[in-house]
């Protein structure tokens, strides 16, 4: 409020000294031949404004193609990850036990080849957060946070590596528990969501924002 008062205060002072006396002379005689120019300029400005507003807002982009359906061994590249699932298995012993001996249970293990194509370090959890899984028969949705028991980079026979560095291709394994009461899964539908790095609406600071679906994989579960 103080700044507006200051600005108005300065402006009033300068106007009092410099407003010129308007000249009433030549306007009358120019009205005839000028009208087409006015109309043309108005149309051009209207079109230019529409274009100028819609171009940065993305209104001139092509309509997005359909979401591709892919199978095992095919690669999908987004802005953050390029993924290629190569193995899906249903096992009855925990493949990545936290402590001690592997426990019995019903587990779904997915192995993918992943490359971090962004320019910042990511983790395996960043990828599992955008991996949506549904097992059949029954079209049961797996909770990608609560049903996940392990996610790690397959390296050196250990389960503790989780980083995906830019430009490096790693093999990653995710293990999920199959919810009780559902039949043994024979096929898996995996959807990967893309992410864009850009400014938030509210703070203008950049972060990974959700994008469109990258691809949907229809996979067979092996035993």
């Amino acid at each position: 409020m103080t700044f507006a008062a200051l600005a108005g205060f300065c402006r009033i002072r300068s106007l009092a000294v410099t407003t010129p006396v308007p000249d009433p002379g030549p306007t009358e005689s120019r009205r005839g031949p000028l009208r087409p120019w006015i109309a043309l300029t108005a149309v051009v400005f209207a079109l230019a404004t529409v274009l100028a507003l819609s171009w940065p807002a993305g209104g001139l982009q092509e309509a997005k193609p359909e979401i591709p359906h892919r199978r095992l061994g095919e690669t999908s590249a987004g802005h953050r990850f390029a993924v290629k699932p190569y193995k899906v298995a249903y096992v009855t012993k925990d493949p990545a036990p936290g402590l001690g001996d592997p426990k019995d249970g019903r587990f779904l293990a997915i192995e993918l080849e992943v490359e971090n194509v962004s320019d910042q370090t990511a983790t395996v959890d960043d990828l599992s957060a955008v991996t949506y899984l549904k097992i059949s028969p029954g079209s049961v949705v797996l909770d990608r946070f609560k049903d996940k028991t392990a996610g790690f980079v397959i390296r050196d026979a250990g389960f503790d590596r989780t980083q995906l560095q830019p430009g490096l291709v790693e093999r990653v394994k995710f293990v999920y528990t199959v919810p009780a009461g559902t039949p043994d899964p024979t096929s898996l539908t995996a959807a990967f969501r893309d992410e864009d790095y850009g400014p938030w609406f509210t703070s203008e600071l950049s972060d990974w924002l959700p994008g469109g679906t990258l691809a949907i994989y229809d996979l067979e579960v092996s035993r």
Partner: protein, 196 residues
């Protein structure tokens, strides 16, 4: 007619001025970026929270970390190449951990230090008690030339806004980096963090 031309030219000039000022304004990420103190390798870089001196850089195809008791860990392999940066760090006034150690490559990518435990970027530092140790990075060999080390307090960028940072160029020129990669040993034993 002349007034019209002057008007259009002034408008075009002002528009160009507006566009130039908008382009030159830093975006929010640059406005809130950590305030970096720049230094050379071997030189002490002082920031408000910590002091850093980078001593040397080693490359290896796989590493084995030795802990404070002399026990050797399992070999750790990588899809790229291991970059081991040996540095001395001390806290200035309060305890700090320099978890935001990143390697920034010439193409603008940032590689956060490896999450293996026992490295210098996971060690609690107290004022007046400097530590010397390794910081490990995994980098594709083709992107290593021209890399610089950037150290901040947090590994999550949003906690580092306007915070202290140190930036050190690692003097990895193209031919030197190529030679380092060719001569990188198949296995390197990396010692623990030591109190100085």
């Amino acid at each position: 007619m002349r007034r019209a031309i002057t008007g259009v030219l002034t408008a075009a000039l002002l528009l160009a001025g507006i566009v130039a000022v908008r382009r030159a304004t830093p975006d929010a990420d640059a406005k809130y970026a950590p305030i970096a103190s720049v230094g050379e390798m071997g030189e002490q870089v002082n920031t408000a929270a910590f002091q850093l001196r980078v001593d040397r850089v080693q490359l290896a195809r796989s590493v084995r970390l030795e802990d404070a008791y002399g026990l050797l860990g399992q070999p750790k392999s990588t899809a790229g190449v291991w970059v081991v940066v040996w540095a001395t760090v001390a806290a200035t006034t309060e305890e700090v951990t320099v978890q935001g150690a990143r390697l920034r490559t010439a193409d603008g990518a940032e590689y956060l230090a490896s999450s293996v435990s026992g490295t210098l970027d996971k060690t609690a530092l107290a004022p007046g008690m400097p530590s010397y140790g390794p910081i490990l990075f995994e980098v594709p060999p083709g992107r290593l030339a021209g890399a610089a080390l950037e150290v901040t307090v947090h590994s999550v960028k949003s906690l580092d806004h306007l915070g202290p940072a140190a930036a050190v160029d690692l003097r990895l020129s193209g031919p030197y980096t190529k030679a380092l990669i060719e001569q990188a040993p198949a296995s390197l034993t990396v010692g623990p963090v030591r109190d100085l």
